[in-house]
Symmetry: D3
Subunit: 264 residues, 6 copies
Amino acid sequence: MNFDSFQLENLALAVDDEGIVTVSLNRAAKRNALNAATVDELVEVFSRLPRMGARAVILRGEGTHFCAGLDLVEHHTEDRRPEEFMHLCLRWHEAFNKMEYGGVPIIAALKGAVVGGGLELASSAHIRVADHSTYFALPEGQRGLFTGGGATIRVADLVGKARMIDMMLTGRVYKGDEAISVGLAQYLVEDSEAKALEIARAAATNPPLSNFAICSAISHMQNMSALDAAYAESVVAGIVNTQPDSRGRLEAFANKTAARVRPD
Amino acid sequence: MNFDSFQLENLALAVDDEGIVTVSLNRAAKRNALNAATVDELVEVFSRLPRMGARAVILRGEGTHFCAGLDLVEHHTEDRRPEEFMHLCLRWHEAFNKMEYGGVPIIAALKGAVVGGGLELASSAHIRVADHSTYFALPEGQRGLFTGGGATIRVADLVGKARMIDMMLTGRVYKGDEAISVGLAQYLVEDSEAKALEIARAAATNPPLSNFAICSAISHMQNMSALDAAYAESVVAGIVNTQPDSRGRLEAFANKTAARVRPD
Amino acid sequence: MNFDSFQLENLALAVDDEGIVTVSLNRAAKRNALNAATVDELVEVFSRLPRMGARAVILRGEGTHFCAGLDLVEHHTEDRRPEEFMHLCLRWHEAFNKMEYGGVPIIAALKGAVVGGGLELASSAHIRVADHSTYFALPEGQRGLFTGGGATIRVADLVGKARMIDMMLTGRVYKGDEAISVGLAQYLVEDSEAKALEIARAAATNPPLSNFAICSAISHMQNMSALDAAYAESVVAGIVNTQPDSRGRLEAFANKTAARVRPD
Amino acid sequence: MNFDSFQLENLALAVDDEGIVTVSLNRAAKRNALNAATVDELVEVFSRLPRMGARAVILRGEGTHFCAGLDLVEHHTEDRRPEEFMHLCLRWHEAFNKMEYGGVPIIAALKGAVVGGGLELASSAHIRVADHSTYFALPEGQRGLFTGGGATIRVADLVGKARMIDMMLTGRVYKGDEAISVGLAQYLVEDSEAKALEIARAAATNPPLSNFAICSAISHMQNMSALDAAYAESVVAGIVNTQPDSRGRLEAFANKTAARVRPD
Amino acid sequence: MNFDSFQLENLALAVDDEGIVTVSLNRAAKRNALNAATVDELVEVFSRLPRMGARAVILRGEGTHFCAGLDLVEHHTEDRRPEEFMHLCLRWHEAFNKMEYGGVPIIAALKGAVVGGGLELASSAHIRVADHSTYFALPEGQRGLFTGGGATIRVADLVGKARMIDMMLTGRVYKGDEAISVGLAQYLVEDSEAKALEIARAAATNPPLSNFAICSAISHMQNMSALDAAYAESVVAGIVNTQPDSRGRLEAFANKTAARVRPD
Amino acid sequence: MNFDSFQLENLALAVDDEGIVTVSLNRAAKRNALNAATVDELVEVFSRLPRMGARAVILRGEGTHFCAGLDLVEHHTEDRRPEEFMHLCLRWHEAFNKMEYGGVPIIAALKGAVVGGGLELASSAHIRVADHSTYFALPEGQRGLFTGGGATIRVADLVGKARMIDMMLTGRVYKGDEAISVGLAQYLVEDSEAKALEIARAAATNPPLSNFAICSAISHMQNMSALDAAYAESVVAGIVNTQPDSRGRLEAFANKTAARVRPD
């Protein structure tokens, strides 16, 4: 995988031998706040990575914070008109939808601030790994703002609409076990980057077509009525479950040489 | 805010200097059960409060119980026909939808029974504060009834469809930490009215337009497919995030004089 | 209730005096894996039971495991084409939708493996009772497969999309208190079959029309926008809440001879 | 039906012996353009008429035009901020949704201009009767506007999204047979008011509960997936088709004394 | 195809050499009105025909009328309770949904009355062929009823919600060219049965998997948001467009030996 | 507007002084059939044009046919696996969704064959102009295929699901007045390119923000329930209807110097 054709200033890319790509937010001095340029780079990166053969992606931030959200200084300076901000949000959504629906597993390694747009970015990943420094908040209400990068969709999906409304009305901060319990992350560990790599490696051992379905079909089906999603699921399973890549795995299962599911 | 033009027998209204309105269910002898007249008063109150400039609403009950739900004695006496009860339910929904989608933060201060229609009423608020006397149940199944005030929508949203079905099939009662854990309330405190006032005051410091979006747009977006909700969210953020009321807040942020989000 | 006209090899049926039907998965040697024939039998059983007057259903497995999911040996041997597997999945959905939307309470008594299609089967029941041997997983990713029996709908509904994606990408196993906490089951007990029977008996004391609404309407309403679901709920309540079967219950309530809801 | 408690300046109400209410737009000098005050009056009228027992409503305009849409002079003078116009639109929707979903048949008698918001108003009625002077257009694009009273919903529903987009991009005007053919009205006659009255009288002979279902349930069901709408339809028919008011009609049918459906 | 195991009194089945099955409504004396028994037979027939290998189905009525709808005499005699009629409607929907979503092309050969439930039955077919005797109406409003067999879904889909509401409020009858123009049928011919057979034969020459997709996927996709339907369509096309049955057809196209699309 | 950075082989771009871009399908020898490379070019073109300031787009084909659809020779030669074709379809959808939702008016100038994927391409434009040589068909059924570029969404939207199913089952061809009547195109003219240019010029005189809303919001709102779309429409109108670009237009209207809507 060659990233030479990317022209990135706010993001940094790396790839290992197993096809696991690390995407780093590279504005530590700004707590990785998302300015317009960063969002454009996210659009480009996540438009192209799935077609370049990435097996899994680790998303992380430089410095002590994952991401502090919308770059409010830029926003204040730009003094945008409503339609300008609307167009900016549509770019955020283009980036984040490509992440969620793109078919490649994305693991977010969290730390420090995961607030506002930073939480929206994190919730566009498929798995979130928090460490003990990680804290989550939606301070938009206090700032006189509203979310524009999908919090109403993805954060509401993670914690429920009621908890999200509480976060926005009151500025409530979640962290630690409570953050896990309400669903903001699936893992709480000492070293979120190490754990994210471990998860990415595990996920990357699945056939790409299975991962594609897991990381695109489920999200689409959540939008469908249950009875129509059932139909769509049947068709997706029709393709995935008869793929040649799985024959060896099924044979191993039939031969009892495959690892069994065990409750530890 | 002047409430003289309201003719209320079952509800009582009060407002403080900050524009925080307290709506009290005023039928303590009936455990604040919801008769048809009370529902009509709720329709009127929540049709008019948002247009009167209420900054936040506290919803509470007189006596030791928040609300015992549908007035079953009235229901038994009236011996309604199916279409009559359907029309009654449609009034419940008019009241409760105006609460949820009305754009003004509503904080329910709970205690004692929050059962059946009382839970439906509570779940139409944006934030629920429970105390240690509070208990939640949907006894409709045992009574030979079905919910008609939105439990299938809002209680299912709070606790998940499976837990709600369990509550209805078996009459299961939730309270205390478990009620918080499953999502029936966002806060468990000693004094739910004091905490509700604290939350209402905090919420009321946000610009009204931000609160309007938080207390209307999120609920609408939950009904949309994610990809269409993203579009709608962009437009809402376009208006909210460029409102003049927020300029001072953004400037304070840029100047680093604004309060920062902190993990406690 | 007479089951003579059923020709079942993979399922066994029994009924008690109260109209509570026990459906047993009868392939213990295969860990009750779901081959095509079993699915056909599930379609037949759940097409006919609601019309035969079943008051509640207990779903259990012979042997030490509830159900290990899709019969992978059969799947490997059959070497199906995509459309063949799609058609098979559509039969799974016919069985599972008839369970979920059929109007009769189904209580799943779980133990041992509840994995893959076994979890899909369990999540089609209305109440899940786990014991301490029970463990839940979606190993499809590792097997090179995708779910085809509604996990994308019902498991996502139970635990949230994010946790489900984690389960599928990584093979994560849930059990015990954590399984309850994330929503995979509503009860964790020593003896899941005894508890399931207790719950079924309790549910069976509700009027059938109330149970029908609880076990069909709520699921349909989850597919609707909130504002349309409110309308539908009004109409359902119009029928259920004026049924003659409830008059005695309402009278008992009015007379204060009915059991009251109590927080224990 | 007594209208004394209405305080209307822009609308006029009348009722005949059969309970058919005529609502007249009363600003002929402004081509019945919809200013904010008129919309508030529409909200009040259509909130109350269904509960006052109106059997059918005729909606018409004074002067030579039905309605020229948003009062652009007021809009220009008010120089509204985005959120102000949003709030105004929400009032339009409150009025128009109460019309469409209110359960009372509304027949619009059209003439002259039915453009912009005037077409939105007309499309909130259940039946539209045009005469040969009637013309339809959505000039919002040329005016530098967008529709805010439901054209994206109701006009798109009448003529299809593609024709509506054409109307908005190009200002295309429809009238006469072509307007009927594309679906903008169901009737083209010499005297639209006389025909509207004839239709209203016919509709008013149906039982109110049937009309309620026709004028509320169908619109809700259009928002549902087909498979869920089928469920809802079953419940609505359960109530409507067993109403006592229909027994005489069914008996007349059984006795062959009822009018038969005939192809003229 | 052997129909011996069907026990039908109200329907008659026949099959020709090409696998085209004719289903005849066999109650000419009742204008083929749909009593409860006929609906049960429709459920059975359309549950089993797709799995028996039917290539296409012609649906017709004995006598001079296709179908006069709900058997009102039975309905009057039965004096059903709301929930009883609801359950009856759910059987109608089970029959009609199996028709629409079953994957086998169904061609309705119409004549005479296609009214009420008869129109609901006809609209569950994929293609409707009318002759000059055919007339369409929804007289439910006049009868004091509401539709319970899917008219709110399928008739609204054919003619638009507005025309359907007009039909129900006023009893309007459509026939001839106008019926075609508004979309009630796709063909108007002299001999509807002969034309239906011609169409069925043409459809039966397509590969069954293509017909399955045409007669199931499109209906499901209509329930989905466009952006999710696009995803589902991709997966369906993935299976259908790579089926071995199509290789010969593609080769014929590549060799230019296949029939070309021509505008006559 | 400078197109130097585009590397196009199958498409050609041109722009005039008014910002109207012409996109030409440039494979006349193949009847402009859509091979994979062309689809990739469509993705690129319609990703970038909206951000380059295009005021309107004319979409046309070189040679005598607009577009014959999927390149069946390439498809036959590639001998794709199901997942490969699924991924190809997802690219088609990326291109076509960017067209429909991109906010820039696209006018398709049609001629000759507009069949299969060619009709899917045409239906992704906002306005379709046919000439007398134009014919429309979906021959997928006869070819043993299914549509994979959105016909189930956009063609069904244009002509109704029933007519589309007829087209696919039987290969029915529409042209001329009948094509207009059923909704396949909005205009039938002698010279479709000249008319398309005229329409594009007219559309380009609207403010870009109005056109953006017309060419993105309406499509999103079609996916929403009516009651939620009303909310979204209010917000869109809030932004569009207060844009500075419209002030002059409103002033002209107030001054009566603006062109009036006239019924021809």
